[in-house]
Amino acid sequence: MTEHSITHGTFSLERTYDASRERVYAAFATAEGKAAWFEGGEGYVTLERVFDFREGGSERLTGRWESGVVSQFDARYFDIVPGERIVYGYEMRLNGTKISVSLATIEFKPAGQGTRLLLTETGAFLDGYNDAGRREHGANLLLDRVGRSLSRELAGA
């Protein structure tokens, strides 16, 4: 792909977990906790994991998906308030091609006995990210999905 372009995007997700802030935060702040869930899921093979959780520290996760695509996540932690928030920037590569550069913020808020997690990502999405092997989606399905995402976006705003 020779066309160079940037698309900017922001999204937010919100989840409430039936677990204390300490526990939810530990799942982001400890190597053991993060490795338990921060990966590609079924069919994903972790190739490399570096976890240096401190301001200025780096995180890397490289892995191969079932499709054979190798993704590499390289992050740098900019701001950490234990138990309250984490701010990091990261770049994402697919098969060695840089596809996006993003800023992520994660906030942990008390919600009764549990914890409300707020995740917001803002990214610069590079060159249209023409990944190989993706199924062609019908335009209607496309509209449907974007519409659903939008309703979530508006509901969360």
Binding site: T7, H8, Y17, A19, V24, A139, L143, R145, E153
Partner: protein, 117 residues
Amino acid sequence: MPAAAAPLDRVFQALSDPARRTMLERLTRGPASVSELARPLAMSLPAVVQHLAVLEASGLVATAKHGRVRTCQLQSGSLQRAEQWINDRRLAWERRLDRLGDYLARQTPQDDEGSPS
């Protein structure tokens, strides 16, 4: 700025209106004139033209004038970019946060005290 590079904010704004979504759905079946787009909508032609302007600014739709008829066409590039972004990031995160929930649920409550498990 080329229409295909319109920021996602504008795409989302364009998709936030039911009339505009109806217009887009019609365009997924092929190009249409402004009056064809207006037909199923209970609104005046000028209102339809305003909605069309929002869709055009978002890069979702391109229009071209042939004689006296303005023809509208879906620009799939913006939709694909929006869809890719949403799918690849939001859904990846949805799945991760599900796994985080499973992980937290598997832990014993004593872990709350910070004691080694």
